[in-house]
Amino acid sequence: MNSSFLLLMIAFLAVLGLTVRPMGAWMAPMAEGRFANGAFARFDQRLLRLMGVDANTGMGWKQYTLALIVFNALGALLLYALQRLQGGLPFNPQHFGAVSADSSFDTAVSFVTNTNWQGYSGESTMSYLTQMMGLAVQNFLSAATGIAIAFALIRGFSRRESTDVGNFWADVMRITLYLLLPMAFVMALVLVNQGVLQNLSSYVSYTGFAGHAQTLAMGPVASQEAIKMIGTNGGGFFNANSAHPFENPTALTNFLQMLAIFIIPAGLCHVFGRLVKDTRQGWAILAIMTLIFVACAIGVAAFEQQGNPLFGKLGIDQLASALQAGGNMEGKEVRFGISASSLFAAVTTAASCGAVNAMHDSFTALGGMIPMWLIQLGEVIFGGVGSGLYGMLVLAILAVFVAGLMVGRTPEYLGKKIEPYEMKMVALAILVTPTLVLLGTSVAVLTGAGQAGVANPGPHGFSEILYAFSSAANNNGSAFAGLSANTPFYNGMLAAAMWFGRFAMIVPVMALAGSLAKKKILPVSNGTMPTHDALFVVLVIGTVLLVGALTYIPALALGPIVEHLSLWAGH
């Protein structure tokens, strides 16, 4: 690690910090479900009525959840159909045929669940229509779904004795049209300005300067790239994702992409604080996320800058200087070097984005373990848009419960009593993804079809499988991409992990929202534990790390830790 990394991270967090209040102010009216009277509110009402939605009719948590699942299932069907039928549809200058059934299924589930795991290679598989009207649409809608659930859970805290957690249709429409779409449009144009493609042309062929023939993939990249980051989706237009110069051409686009990943998750913390009428509550959650993030990002940068011990014997210069980034450059781009690659890796795995600007499979053993662990923490360190906040609030409730046990008081969070029903839902929500990750990994390791996908020998091969299931079940989408996962076995297994990792967690979270909304808000008393101070921050950090550590350290010991020890022992 070096000073350029620290400066980059500080600049990044400073700019992010400046966005929190404005983003909170932008999103809060949507979360409250009401806009000030005026032309805009009338437009909003009329638009929703056109959809057959009465925005003033609230939903109970069950109805909200059902609407959400039906909406997402229909979206998955549409995306599946588009891939299967793309051969006969327009905007297909390369004449790509139908995507295979198992790959289409995996990809449909992947994009609807905000995972964006990609078994295919974009530039040799997907027509422009599939990219625009299939994949990018789900980039918007899966993000809107996640934010909607966060809104519902926040309403659970802010409302008293109500069965109404909001109207799903109004939430999805408003989030998509008033938040995501304008952000994406502006960002797309900035990206084009820096060199990201935006065209519908067929691929360009020429004889290069040195006489080698070269063909370049084209496409409407910027419009998709923008929402890919803003919605923490992460599915690349091209196979190389944000490492591809046409997706992420400059240091500036890289900075903007990282910012776009965190901007909504950070802003949502402020929305939470505003709606519970105590903004300190939101800042406390943001502090928890930031502290864990900073520690992990520094770790990645330190290990990547350290480089590969096997290279030293070959007469290779891995030292950072004014003339080179040095460090472990395998799988990294020169324009990002170690600093911007490491920070991006931490950002994309802390949030459940999954875009990559460097190949995580080629990271050093421990430099690659930290991103994997950030995913395994449950995507709560900023996390996916919406899903990060609701995941973190679930862990905060657990922390409050543990604290309550220690002092022998009925735990309460923001005046809501935490009772057995809430704790059951919390436990369910926390246990879903580890179960999927560890069971899925075990099955893959024990079967021939699972072992066949491994690209790297030894413990690193195990890491590839563990990373795949961690990424799928936690809806991240990045990969140790050497794993050949475009097989019926992995397409099926990972699709199941993604679907249940998303929706089997959403159901208990929505149940929690419904049950909290029904409760009274108790007044603050002498015995109330403050949930905005340093003690609370430390308590929640402890809870997050404890859950993450106890669940995954044994598995991590078999993969990256063994690899690190044997590498540095000289084997």
Binding site: V70, F71, N199, N239
Partner: protein, 206 residues
């Protein structure tokens, strides 16, 4: 905010009407807006205002022929050229329709083999050069299309290129420094040299 009674009333209407109708109309509307209107509007604005970037930042020679893209690396392997990163794309290096990295793990013997082969090639082209080799010159990029190398990697190749062309090393170093781009505000991004631009500038020296 609703009372309990209102919500119960709402849930008595048939599920088909309360769920399926809005589900289909919301999905259709948002698909058309975000899936067609948005990307096509972006395309129109981009093509009208920034056609060069939107179409791939293509580089054209004196005769108007396209010879590459300013953002995409190309294969350079002759002793008289500056070489770029290793590229692990598809079946041939710098394949613009098969982007991707090697995905070789740090402990994989295949990684050491690929790195050693590159070292051998560099040594063979310039046996007298005993300086340590900059790491980006012997490793594959993430995209396989990296257009840049570090300044260290360009400097390392100066003795070889100078000998082939009979140009002074100082003159080449000045050329590298001229072509190199500095980090934004001195800190953001890396000191890098675009290999295509460097090789084009090199031929203009003659």
């Amino acid at each position: 905010m609703n009372t309990l009674a209102q919500t119960q009333n709402a849930s008595k209407t048939p599920a088909r009407a309360t769920i399926l109708r809005p589900a289909l109309s919301v999905l259709a509307t948002l698909t058309l807006i975000t899936g067609l209107a948005y990307p096509l509007a972006t395309t129109v604005v981009a093509q009208l205002t920034m056609p060069n970037q939107a179409n791939g930042s293509l580089v054209v020679d004196e005769n108007g022929k396209v010879v590459g893209s300013a953002l995409i690396g190309q294969q350079f392997d002759k002793p008289g050229e500056f070489w770029g990163r290793l590229s692990a794309t598809g079946n041939k290096p710098y394949d613009g329709v098969n982007s991707g990295g090697s995905n070789l793990g740090p402990s994989n013997p295949a990684l050491i083999k690929a790195v050693s082969a590159r070292i051998d090639a560099l040594k063979k082209a310039d046996p007298g050069n005993t300086r340590p080799i900059p790491v980006d010159l012997v490793t594959a990029s993430g995209s396989g299309l990296d257009p840049d190398i570090s300044r260290a990697a360009a400097y390392y190749q100066i003795p070889r290129v100078a000998r082939v062309h009979g140009i002074g090393e100082a003159q080449l170093k000045a050329l590298v420094d001229r072509t190199a781009s500095r980090p934004l505000f001195g800190y953001f991004g890396e000191a890098k040299v675009n290999v295509l631009a460097l090789n084009r500038a090199l031929t203009k020296l003659h």
